[in-house]
Amino acid sequence: MELELLLNALVAGLLLGGFYAAVTLGISVSFGILDIVNIAHPAFIILGSYVAYIISSKFGIDPIVVAIVMLPFFYALGSAIYQIYYVSFERRGQEALRGLAFFFGLLFVTEVLLILVFGVDYRYVEAVYIGPTLHLGILEFPLRMLVPALVSIAMFCCLQLYLSKTFTGRAIMAVSQDPLALRLMAVDPTRIKRVAFSISIATAALAGAFLIIIQPVVPSVGRDYIGIIFAICVLGGLGSLPGTLIAALLLGIIESLTSIYIGPSWAPAVAFGVLLLTLAVRPSGLLGR
Amino acid sequence: MSDVMSTAATQAAPQSASGPILQISGVGKRFGGFVALDGVNFDVARGERVGLIGPNGSGKSTLVNCICGTLQNETGTVTFDGKAMNGLVAHQRTHLGLARSFQLPRPFSSMSVADNIRVPLMYTVATRSGHHLSHAELSDHCHELLKLVSLEAKGSHRVQDLTQVEQRKLELARAVAAEPKLLIADESMAGLSHSEVEDIVSLLLQLNERGITIIMIEHIMRAVMKFSQRLVVLVSGKKVADGEPEAVVQDPEVVRAYLGQ
């Protein structure tokens, strides 16, 4: 019986890690690759959850399908926000203190607007895979965790391919290393940063859909994820998508084991304990620069 | 002469007068695969005027950063005043009496010109002498140093209002404010007019007379030849020549390194 408990805890950890990877992907792009500290990213994830909630409950469409349909809108939202960020901060070289405060303000304005519109009672979605569990021998795979994890890994593969095989993708990986050198490749660094930031906000649409599938959501839930996504991004190594995925799975497992063997209320402290440890011991992270 | 200058002079001269003030032995530094410094060796005697020259990318600035602690060299040691400095961070080396001006001026933008000079006085001079300078002493020293670089009229101006040349002079004044035994002037004359170059060279000669050892890093050969008692030539991370200026310039190895085979 003991072995079965452990194995299922590991499975649960991996599936949770898959979800954490999706939640962290946006920050891995904006903070890891572009050096833009978008502390408001969780607010966009919650926005993705509520968009999935409204449309799927009104039209009965599957939340992940809704998220995929909404990707262009989130992309547009991302480029609008980047334009404000670039004009008011980056161009004036004031992006450090002021840029951080800008995103901090954005985080609260988004959360509070959602509270004012939707109130504070829990919202959830229906989907065919919420509820049933896949049994493989003694292993149990709750579908509502399995589907998001699989789609999340698919998201990672697509983005990694895009970044390594397309011209814009390579430029995105290059822009924070040497923007002037990118100009010498006939590429405008600002356009590239806008594209990358817009992609990072677009991933929030899908991450939000996964979140509301996995657990009912209230506007303030986003704040619980700020720490986790930065912890995973730093642990995985800045600017490395594979590093982020590995760190997310690792953290999912650690958290799953902690809540089973020590107690669920200790789980949130795990992510941050790991983050503080990483910052102290190996700030460049697992695969980072 | 003002008291601030005389204290520098007395400090630099006797003490452990024996042995060179700076010894660079086998200093190496790499950035990834790129070897910036490849085992550099030379000494600087007390009160000496040394010119450090070499084409762009030869490692001059990297060497300065390794001496001053902004970068830590992987191999070799830098010994200052008989003390090996491996592992010491920049401010500790400044307290030992080693000061530098930056190639691209780095003023403290939220402060006035005079306050920029106040910082090394409050942090290096006060720490070294063990007692904090009074407000009056600080103002006198600031005024003295501003007069030295003829910026006394701009004491309360904001740093952004200074011209390029004035910012270079502020860099030098700030370095001298730390009352150093060794001053490294990193390309403080690049792009200056003929007369401005003369001003800086005479200022550096004046400081040297007061006992401050000076390493000048410049491309302007006319200034380097006039100022230096000795020339050290770096090419792609290695020392290729070290000696009396007239001889070094004629040395075929230097000419080949500079002008190509």
Partner: protein, 244 residues
């Protein structure tokens, strides 16, 4: 192939209040290799930066003829100038250290016209610089100085340029590598029939491949040699050069 040339007339430039370039007029005709000679701190790099739009000139005209079509470069952004087909190998190479050799080369071919013939350009680069082929998946930052210089040259070639500007290729290179780099530039120029303007302080090396040269001292063109020989055996040049 229609002609591609570069003309600068009465160019002045400054960093803040410090004047660096004074009334410079330079001509690079189609298919020519012109050297811009002078020791460091005389304005060579600044002039190159004016042409590329990195430093806006205070006065003067900069005209580039690309395959017969004239363009006034002053006022264009750097990326627009590069998109015309004017490539720069920058001082200090400025590679993307955390990306592989191949990724750096592909980045060089970002320009629309260059994407069409990536395959040929890549094969030619690997042929000219076999070392790059061996290390195609190694991070650019981990390569030696000489290898990084080769990669910077190859990356500029991936742009299928018509005009190639090179800013101090010998920077940071050991003397033996400098001559190999200059030979490589000659080889690439002939294969692509390029118009080349090279700012270089290594006088003798530059003249090995230059058809003509200008000597710049304190931001002024002090001397224009109509041929390599004229430049080479001129004591005046050596005096100017060493700034005696």
């Amino acid at each position: 192939m229609a002609s591609s040339s570069l003309r600068l007339e009465g160019v002045h430039a400054a960093y803040g209040s410090v004047r660096v370039i004074h009334d410079v007029s330079v001509r690079v005709d189609s298919g020519e290799t012109v050297a811009l000679l002078g020791t460091n701190g005389n304005g060579k790099s600044t002039l190159i930066k004016c042409i590329m739009g990195i430093v806006p000139p205070a006065e003067g005209r900069i005209v580039a003829e690309i395959d017969g079509v004239e363009h006034n470069l002053v006022g264009m952004t750097t990326e627009q100038i590069v998109d015309l087909g004017i490539a720069l190998v920058p001082e200090g190479r400025r590679l993307f250290p955390r990306q592989t050799v191949e990724e750096n080369l592909f980045l060089g071919a970002s320009r629309a016209k260059a994407r069409a013939n990536i395959k040929q350009n890549l094969d030619f680069c690997f042929e000219t610089f076999p070392r790059l082929a061996e290390r195609r998946s190694q991070l650019a930052g981990s390569m030696s100085g000489g290898e990084q210089q080769m990669l910077a040259l190859a990356r500029a070639l991936m742009l299928s340029p018509r005009i190639l500007l090179i800013d101090e290729p010998s920077v940071g290179l050991a003397p033996v590598l400098v001559s190999r780099t200059i030979d490589a530039i000659k080889q690439l120029k002939d294969h692509y029939n390029l118009t080349v303007l090279m700012a270089e302080q290594n006088f003798t090396q530059a003249l090995r491949i230059a058809d003509r040269g200008y000597v710049i001292v304190h931001g002024h063109i002090e001397f224009e040699g109509r041929s390599a020989e004229e430049l080479n055996n001129n004591d005046l040049i050596r005096k100017f050069y060493l700034g005696m």
